[in-house]
């Protein structure tokens, strides 16, 4: 089902937002279906056209003091008018005391009403970050994610080609594993691809012939990270003599993950090729390229210049 229920929201955020439920406990099955917040000032003043009822409603200083300034029956009617839409929940910021009419209407119309000591801006920031993350497009891909010299490298390839062995080799050299086998990827802020692993298996790897190992116990905390951005994707595949592999790196190949382009390399695997070293070099070279230096292009320019000079 799309969105997130208020009970899930409360479970996940009650500590960070320091939420206390003050009314509307029967509305916990309501759902947040829109990753944004709204401050219902205008709606409380009576203008309800375009009222963004799908959003989490935040009551700050303005809304609360305005409600206090109204006659009790007027404020009750205005509150009822907005709460009778399917608003997911309401949160009162800055430890403001919700007035009696608000508490009663929230109970009657079963809209969860929370209170928090956070100031309004801080509250809005945190909810927005949380909702953005919850509603972010996501996908699970087979492969592993390693952080090499600060670059998030997504390694993929057919089973048995050596992904886990390569990741293990990288760990032994002081790089960091985020996850082996399955990478959960989210698109944060519509910009960043962030990969993480499943909580259960993220310290574990399966290595053929060794079985399951716990890499955190073996290599310590330094080798491990919970999540990382994905900067580079590498496909490992068995060397195919009929295939032409990239030999220059002038043009950049990309793959799309969640519709975002990610720089991509295909590295053929063959006896005598040290994959750990290859991935380390690829990560460093990518770093260099993202700083604006393309070694192949630079050499090409130098070559053309020297041919002209003759």
């Amino acid at each position: 089902m799309k969105g997130i229920s208020i009970s899930e929201f409360y479970e996940k955020m009650k500590d960070e937002l320091q939420l206390t439920l003050v009314a509307g406990k029967d509305g916990f099955n309501r759902r947040i279906r829109w990753p944004e917040i709204n401050r219902p000032g205008l709606a409380l003043a009576g203008y309800v056209d375009y009222f963004a009822w799908r959003r989490v409603q935040i009551l700050g200083k303005v809304e609360i003091t305005y409600l206090w300034s109204l006659e009790p029956d007027v404020s009750r009617a205005r509150i009822a008018q907005i709460l009778s839409r399917k608003v997911p929940c309401m949160i009162v910021a800055r430890r403001y005391c919700a007035l009696k009419q608000l508490l009663e209407e929230a109970d009657r119309l079963k809209v969860p009403l929370f209170r928090t000591p956070l100031v309004t801006v801080d509250l809005i920031d945190r909810i927005t970050v949380f909702l953005d993350n919850e509603f972010a497009p996501s996908i699970s891909l087979k492969g592993n994610l390693v952080e090499v010299f600060g670059e998030g490298v997504f390694l993929e390839g057919k089973s048995g080609v050596g992904k886990s062995e390569t990741a293990l080799g990288l760990l032994a050299r002081g790089h960091r594993l985020i996850t082996d086998d399955v990478v959960r990827i989210k698109l944060r802020e519509r910009k960043y691809l962030i990969g993480s692993g499943s909580e259960l298996t993220r310290h574990h790897m399966e290595i053929r012939g060794l079985g399951i190992i716990n890499v955190q116990k073996l290599f310590g905390a330094v080798c491990f990270r919970e999540e990382s951005q994905i900067d580079l994707a590498i496909t490992l595949e068995r060397w195919d003599p009929r295939k032409e592999y990239e030999r220059l790196g002038i043009e950049e190949d990309t793959i799309r993950i969640l519709d975002k382009p990610v720089p991509h390399l295909t590295i053929p695997v063959r006896t005598g090729r040290d994959l750990v070293l290859m991935v380390e070099t690829a990560a460093l070279n990518h770093r260099l390229k993202s700083m604006g230096f393309n070694p192949a292009r630079a050499l090409d320019e130098q070559l053309i210049r020297s041919m002209r000079a003759r």
Binding site: R247, L248, I250, A296, D300, L303, S306, M307
Partner: protein, 98 residues
């Protein structure tokens, strides 16, 4: 073509570089990708300098500009085909200059 005739034959031919940018990185890659398809050993010589025709780094050290004359030698079972294909690639200006 019979096997006996083609086995380890040596074929040599000279070609002039005709594309205006010369044998820079992209043409070098096309040439190396082509030469690697053949079983024959391939050597390319410019003036007194001879390089392995299957190595990109080798090819670019020649710095063969427009007008340079390259002597290409192929030794192996498919030497003739290799030379013909290389000649065609060079004459077609590596797909550059339109």
């Amino acid at each position: 073509m019979s096997r006996e005739n083609s086995n380890n034959s040596k074929v040599e031919m000279s070609f002039r570089i005709v594309n205006s940018l010369g044998l820079h990185l992209r043409p070098a890659r096309m040439l190396a990708n082509l030469t690697n398809k053949f079983e024959s050993d391939i050597f390319i010589k410019k003036n007194s300098e001879e390089v392995n025709g299957k190595s990109i780094m080798g090819i670019i050290t020649l710095a063969a500009a427009e007008g340079a004359l390259l002597k290409v030698t192929a030794i192996g079972p498919d030497a003739r085909e290799a030379i013909e294909a290389i000649g065609k690639l060079i004459e077609n200006k590596f797909g550059e200059d339109e």
